[in-house]
Each structure stands twice: as C-alpha cells, then as structure tokens.
C-alpha cells in the first residue's frame, strides 16, 4: 500500500549542533488516522512544519503522495488541509469571510461554506467576527478551513489543545467520521496518549527527536498485552510457592507482596477469582508496565 506521508531518516537542526529531529522515518498509510505522540518539545511541531513546508526542508527526505515534497510545492497543498499550532485566523473578519478567503485561495466554490459551518457546529455563528469566538469555536473554524477543500490528507497539530472535554469529544468524532466516510488520511499530533488511543489506527511515538515506536495501534497494544501484576496479600511466601508453577518467573517483592506476569489482561479477573476462592486475603492488586507507564516514563526522563 502507498504511504501518503513517508520520511526517510528525516533530520533537522536549527543551529549547527542543536538537532531537533534525528533520523525520523515516518510511514503513514492511506486511510489511516495516524497519531503522532510525544511529550512537549519532542519535535512534533518541527515535524509538522517540515511536512507543510513552512520550514524549508534541509535535505530531501519527505515524500507526500509518493513524490518528494520539494517537487510538489505548492501545488500539493490543494490535496492537504492543515492546522499548525494555534489556529491561523483573521480575527477582524467573520467566520464566513475567513472561509471565503480560503475558498478564494483554493478555487473552491463558496457554496460549500454553509455546509462546512454546519459540519463544525458553527452554522449560527458564521456572521460573527472571529474575535468574538471562544477558543473552541476558533479551533473548529480552523478545522473547517482545513477541511473546506475536501483534502485527501489532513495534518493537525494538537487540534484539541485547550478544548473542554465536550469539545474534545466533538472534534474526535468529527475526525473519525471524516476518516470513515470520506477516506481522509489524518495525521494528528498530541502529547496525550488517551486521545490517540481513542481514535487512531496508527501511532508513532517521538521523544527527543527520535522515533521510539511506529506501528498499528493494535501492534502497540499487543506489545503491552501481557500484564505485570503486583499483588499485596497476607503471607506472600506461602502464596508464592503455590503460584510459582502457574506463573513462572514469579517474584516475592517482600513479605506481603508478590509480582508475576499474566499472558493477557483478560486473564486478570480469572486469576483474582481463583486466588480469592483459594482463600487469599488480597489487599491491593495493581498492574505495572503498561503502555501508559511506558509513555509516562518517556515524559519523566524528559524532565
């Protein structure tokens, strides 16, 4: 399958020594919702700017739609809708005029504007000046501007930043619908794992300018499918001896705590039931080393 976005060992540095991106190779297949995950300062925005040509590329590592980006500028943007960093809007204009401006630049019929406002839930606010909009409305208008030309690829940099939970959910549903109904490939960056987990089909994790993981969402889940269980219970040593044959590699952490591994998370309730049935006094049960932990540890080392 053709990758809509493909970078081959993309590197970028502002100065001679400060490398912001180091050999980042991305592969975003057609029809994916690709979550680009990383803590703040990992290089997400720089990647996004390079992909949109806002920062000229230093090498020739970026390919969009199977062709080098450099050779397609600026025509390729007719297939791309983008939202980079804070929404770029003209505050002195109305929502409709902002869309008209984009329609004019892209040669799109202005007739599409009402439908687009409807789509992002601004149908009643189109004539108001954008400076009167709330942050969420601005964000939705910016997305409408990115979507106006029915792009094949949507590049969104932290699109839910600063939105309330309700707004976040609306945007998420909108993106998933676009992907499902129109087959739009979406490249979305975020520093929030739950956000990505909830809607993405693919994920790339970046940290300190290096790509730590890239693959399908279920691959990532599979990688963290096994569950490390830490159980606090009365008389650990006795239970350890009884459980050792069932869970090889079980360890006694101290007198009241043991740790062992289950092949899947789905095995956890059964394991608990059998322990209780066997008469164990369970005080606490905790899962360790999941996706969340791994991602959090990335952020921690960054601090």
């Amino acid at each position: 399958m053709v990758n809509i976005i493909e970078t081959t060992a993309l590197s970028f540095g502002y100065g001679r020594h400060k490398k912001v991106l180091d050999n980042v190779s991305l592969h975003i297949p057609e029809g994916a919702i690709y979550g680009f995950l990383g803590p703040n300062g990992a290089g997400k925005s720089t990647t996004m700017r390079l992909l949109t040509g806002i920062i000229p590329e230093q090498g020739n590592a970026i390919r969009l739609f199977g062709e080098p980006l450099r050779q397609q500028m600026p025509g390729v943007f007719s297939k791309i809708g983008s939202l980079v960093e804070q929404p770029a809007l003209y505050l002195h204009l109305s929502g409709i005029d902002n869309l008209r401006y984009i329609a004019r630049l892209r040669g799109v019929s202005p007739k599409r504007i009402p439908a687009m406002l409807e789509l992002v839930g601004l149908a009643n606010d189109g004539k108001r000046k954008v400076k009167q909009y709330s942050l969420g409305m601005k964000q939705r208008l910016a997305i409408a501007m990115a979507l106006l030309d029915e792009p094949a690829l949507l590049l969104l940099d932290e699109p839910v930043n600063g939105l309330d939970p309700n707004g976040i959910q609306e945007i998420r549903q909108l993106l998933m619908r676009l992907n499902r109904e129109n087959g739009v490939t979406i490249f979305v960056s975020s520093h929030l794992l739950p956000e990505i987990e909830k809607m993405c089909t693919h994920v790339g994790i970046i940290h300190n300018g290096q790509l730590k993981f890239e693959g399908r969402m279920d691959e990532l889940s599979a990688r963290f499918a096994t569950a490390n269980i830490v159980v606090t219970l009365g008389d650990a040593v006795r239970w350890a001896e009884r459980l050792e044959p069932l869970y090889p590699g079980l360890m006694v952490l101290h007198a009241r705590q043991i740790r062992f591994m289950l092949p899947t998370k789905e095995a956890v309730p059964g394991m608990v039931r059998s322990l209780v049935d066997a008469g164990a006094d369970i005080y606490e049960l905790r899962m360790e080393g999941g996706l969340e932990d791994w991602f959090m540890s990335l952020i921690d080392t960054n601090k």
Binding site: T52, G53, I54, I55, P56, P74, G75, V76, F77, S78, I80, S82, V84, E85, Q86, P87, A88, L89, Y90, L91, H92, L93, D97, R100, Y101, I102, R104, L105, R106, G107, M145
Partner: protein, 736 residues
Amino acid sequence: MAMVNDFLTALRAEHIKKRGTGIYMLSAAIGVLFPAVLCVFGIVRNTQFNEPFAFSYYLKYIQDAALPFTNFFFPLLIIVISSRVTQLDHRNGGWQLMDTQPLGKFALYFAKFSVVLISAVIAILSLVAGGMFFGWLLTNFIEVPGHAQLHVPWKELLQWGSRLFVACLYLAALQYMIAVLIPSFIWSILIGFGLLLTGLFAKPYGYVFDWYPFHIVSRITDFKAGSDLGYWFVYTEYVSVAAALILLYLGFQWYKHKTWRRAFLATPAKALALGVVLALGAVWLFALLRPKQGDEHPRTVLAGELDAGLPVSHVYLINPTLQDTLAIIPMQGNRFHQVLEGELVADHYQVAFDRFYQTSVYFGTRDSVYIAGVANADASKFAVRGTRLADNQAGSVKASWNRIRYYLEQNMFLDDPLHFARELHADWKKTQRESRLFKTVDNYTPKADFNKRSEKLIAVNYLSLWTGFVRKRMAVFPDQPTVPPSAIEDIQRHVSLADEALLSDESYREYVTDQFILADTVDIPLPEKALAGITGLPSGRFRDKLLYWQLSRSLKEATDSAERTALMDRFTAFFDDSVYRRRAAFVYHQWQRVGKGRPAMHFEATDLSGNRVALADLHGKLVAIDVWASWCGPCKRQSPYFERLALKYRDEAIYFIALGVDRDKSKWEIDAKGKSKSVLQWYAADMEKFGLEYNLATIPRFMLLDRAGRFIAAEMPMPSENAFELIVRKELGLPD
C-alpha cells in the same frame, strides 16, 4: 499563465482579507484632503494669482495642493499601509496559513504588494479628482485671471500622476520589505517614519539626495514641470524603478526562504543570482546617478524662440564687459538661429530682443544653446537649453542669506579677526560644497569651466566680506593693522587679482578695485583711488577692461561736464586697445549729452485725452519728469512723493510730468487715470528713441529741466529723499 492566475487569485483573496480595514478609504481621504484644504484657504484668504503668463489653472491647483502630499502625507500613507497589510498576517499566523495554500509565494508576496500600490494609485487619483472638484469650487469664490486656462489638462495630469506613481515605487518596495521582515507593527512604522523625518529635516540644509526614496517622491513637486529636455520621466524616477526592482527581489527571496542565509548563501546558484542582481542593479543605478554634461558641439550656435505679443525683428548678442554688440541675428517668425564664427570666451553674455527684452546666457565657443523665451507686457521668462543647460540654471541659483554678512552688519567680532576669519572660512567651505552639488532635474551638472568660475566667484564674495571687515576695523581700531589670517590666505589662493575671465562679473571688479582702495591711504575720493590703482597695473586687456568699467562708472557719477572731461583727459591714455578708448568716448558723450546745461532732446507723447503733446510745449517753466511703467514696483512707491510735490508747488512755475513707458498702452491708461491730476500724465510716443537719447538704463528715473529746456539734472535723487525737493526749491528761487 499559471503564475498570472495565481497572482490574480491571491490578489482577490487579499481583498477579502482587507475587508473592514479601511485601507482604500484612508488613501482616498488623504488624496482629497489637501485640495479641500487649499480651497478653504483660497476662499478665506481670497487667493490672487500672480503668474504673468498663461497657465493651466487646474494643473497649478493640483500641484499646489500636492506640496504637503508629496513631502509628507503620501510617503506616510505608504508606510502605514505597508505595515497595515502585512500586520493582517503577522498577527495570528496568517503567513503560515498562506504558506500551506496551493499558491506560489511569488503570487502571495506580490499580491499583497499590489494592495500597497493600488492604495497609492487611489491616493493619487483622489488628489487629482479632488483637485479638479475643489479647484472648480474655488473658481466660484475668487477671481481667476483671464490668461488662466480652464480646460482639463489631461496629458499633463497623466504625466504628472504617472511620475508620482513611478517615484513612489522605490519607497513602497522598501517599506513593504521592512514591514514583511519585521513582525512588529510599531517598529516597521517607526523605521519608515524615521527615514521620512530624516529626509524632511535634511532638505533645508541642502542635503537632498537623488537616491533617497523620500526625496525622489518630493521631487515631483520640487520640479513640477518635469524634464527640461521633454522626457516623460526624469532620471530619479528611473532610479526609483531600479531600486524598487532590487528591493523587491531581496524582499521576495527573504520571504520565500525565511532567512537571509537560506535565501542567498545556501547554494552557489543562489549566491550567484544575488551577485548578478546586485551587480546589474549597481551598474544600472550608477549609470542613472552619474551626473551628465552637455557634449561639445562642432560649432558655436545661438538659437531660440520667443513667444511674445509683439513683433521682434532682431536679436542682439552683447558683450558683458563692453556692452558692445557681438552679433545681430534676424528673427524669422518667432525663431532665430545663428552659427557664430570665431572665438567666444565662455561668459555670461547678454541677449537682447530688440530693446524690449533681455536675458543673460552663459556660453562660449563650441556650445550650442537654445533660448526659449515667453514674454508679455508685464514680464519675461527665459530658459536655456543645449550644451549649457546646467550652467545657466546653476547661474540663476543665488546665494541667499549667510551668517557672515550678518556678523558684519552687526559689527560682531571686530576685535577678534582670527575668529571672524575662521567663521568666514567655514561658511565659504560650506557654500563651495553646496555649489558643487547642483544638478538639473535631468541630472546634468555644469561644465568644469563654469564650476571653476563659480568657485572663484564664491571666493570673491567671501573675500569682499573680509574686505568689508578690514575696512570696519580700520575705522574702529585705526592703530591695529589687520593681517589676513591663514584662513583668509587660503581663500585668496583661489582667486587671482588679474583674472580676465571674471571681469564680466561686477562683484569681482568691485573686489579688485577694493584692493587698490584699501592699499591707498591718501585722502582722495574712492573712485579716484580705484582709477589710480588700475593705471598702476601692467598694460593689457585686463587693465583695459577694468579701466573701462571704472571710468564708465566715474563718468556716470560725475556731477558736471568739466569733471567728466578731466576724467577723460587723465585716463584715456592708459587704454592699450583703441576699442576701449572709443567705447569710453561714447559713454562720455552719452553722459555729456544729458549733462547739466545741455538741451534736453525733443520727445513727443500722448496725454490721457489722446492729444499729441511734446516737451517743447512746456517751455517757460521748470519741468520735473518721472519716467515710470505700470509693471515697475519701485516706480509705484516713488510716485506718491512726486505727486505730493506737484500739489505743493502747483502754483509755482514748474510742470510735473509722469511719462509712462509701458509697452501696453491700456495698462498705462488704467494706472495713469488713477493718479493725481496735478501731474501731467503722458505716454511716450517713441520709447526706443527716448530711451537711447536720455541714456535710460533703469526706471524709476527722475529728471529736472530748466525754463529753457536744458538739463538741470538727468538723474535726480528719488522724490522720497529731501534732496529732490531742495533742488526744486533752489531752481525755483525759493528759500531753503
């Protein structure tokens, strides 16, 4: 083609974006403002027009209104609008939004620049349209002279407007580049405003640069008429185009690549392109800005045209020193053309159109000059083109006020010659530097010989001030000799005391004779000292010319016939060349003829009733004559005094005659009718003859004749002076 489409798309999009900003309204308002203000001014102050020649009323109105516009408000408008349109995108990430649209950066950059240019065009068109409307409005309130042309000067307006537009391109490209580069609104405005003010403040001090964008714009009103040579645009407008193209290239490349390094140094090809653009631009600008000089002509040609109401038959070329005629050129229609043979030393020659009009033209051998003149009864105006275009324009730029003259008038620093000399030296240096800066609107500079002459004459002016200072010191500190400090000697090195080429200039002759007068401490009249000094010079043309000039002056100033004869007896022998002796004799006879006791020549005239009258009719009484003309301001100031005396002595045996020498009789009539009836108002019948016979050089001129029609004085004091009345009383036999 795709690029054009992209550009048009981007331009239309810019017009959506600028909605509600009022950019075009502001431009139109600035354009209309000054024509409106001028109209209000005109109504309140009841503007009078003093243009003596036919002029286009609307063109003049618009150009007058444009003065604050081109000097300040139009550049300011461009600064503000450049910053305004770029700020729309500096705020809230507009540039990034544009970067991610399927349009070339060229289209985006130049679409926005076009908004600036469209604003400029709107401002210019509003100025013109506003000028037409308010100019018309004003005609309903004030009186527009009959010779003002009231049709719409389409071609002139188109040329003037297009010059203004082209002149602003450089400024617009510069300010647009600054505004794109600098995201801060305040800073881009401040930089532009700073440059504007710098230009404004530098201008009065003579720092006017033909490469400075703001001065290029203000030149549109400094040189309203445009090229002297008939070109549509002048060189500063081409400079504007060249500089604008370079700046647009630099600004666009920066915008495209976001940093200077990436734009120009990232690859050898980019560095090469920059080098080529800068080199071509530099060559182009150099070629435009390099001053030009008129080429030498294979022959010496004097030609021209005169647009005057009356027929002129001949043009006379007159030697500046001897006042003798070098050539008589017949007029054909209103044009003349003559190839002059022989050597003609470059100098300010007089060119006279019969005896009606006269102008001065600087030229010499192998120059071809063309004099274009316009004249009517009130005034005349001459412009010289050809190989001495710049020389003749520079010659008419007079040195104005200078502080050294002020020190001298106020008797300052009389006790400190060293300080005075230092100040004088500094001021001389400044004037000299400024004189070298002269360029015509077409970038022509005077030729080397003219510049050298100008420099010498500037030095002469300053040395004359020094002479005045020395003279004052001699009076105040008679015991302290004033030795010229080294600063003065430095100036003296620039001027020889025997430079024949400078003798046509009165200030130089005065300077040379002053030196003789200063050196001679014997207590005799000053002119005599000068004459005595001149005779001490080695014989030759220099002495001849100087002697002729000084002697003519003494002959004029001499009060009686015996004195003149004595002057002639004593000094004619010193002339080397008989031409000068003959000329001196001619001058002598001229003055003798109007000398005291000589019979006044017969002349005829017409009075206000149209009757023929003559001088001979007036025998038996004294005759006081006031020679005047309606266009002569000093005459008009003197005539009330003359009339007061006429009333006071109306019962005495004296006629008071005001003899009008206007060329236009109707003008004389209007003025003469308003004058006192105690003065006989006459209009001279043959002005040519009268002028020649009465040695009439300037007016007002007052004469007094005795009862037998003989001169008492051919040049009386002005009637505003008591001496006039004293002489009259004495001749009437009245007590003092």
